[in-house]
Symmetry: C2
Subunit: 83 residues, 2 copies
């Protein structure tokens, strides 16, 4: 079975997010005074071929920890659905 996963990798809440901070400041400067607390992370979509949803989820957790996210600085969450 083929699954499609949508993964969000975000900088941990406790850490500074320089990219988001820079965009927050730019927002103010170009007239978006109402926008604040911008945080920027990665959005990843991928396809995975597995026997069951459970194995797919295990694989995705492993992939996130090994290659897609840096667990020291980033957290991740994902949704998975059948393709």
């Amino acid at each position: 079975m083929k699954f499609i996963a949508e993964i969000n990798v975000m900088p941990l809440k406790a850490l500074l997010d320089p990219q988001g901070k820079a965009v927050s400041n730019s927002m103010k400067n170009i007239g978006f005074q109402e926008i604040e607390n911008v945080r920027i992370g990665k959005h990843i979509t991928l396809e995975i071929e597995c026997m069951s949803k459970e194995t797919a989820m295990e694989k995705i957790n492993e992939a996130c920890n090994k290659i897609l996210a840096n667990p020291i600085m980033e957290g991740y969450e994902y949704t998975i659905k059948e393709a």
Copy 2:
């Protein structure tokens, strides 16, 4: 009213995504043969202070087109909810 927006900015389907391609290939090399078609974009969360959901959505569209996404190379979608 304060709203929280979750925005996904992804490279357009028609375009190559070199970052995603590189990760797809790495997946194969480190034992994730079942993963393919990785695409990588940005996930952005922000807070916006507006009178109504409609004005908030207008502002977010404007912000996406002006600063968060490059409409020539990227598409965006978002969800918005009351904080």
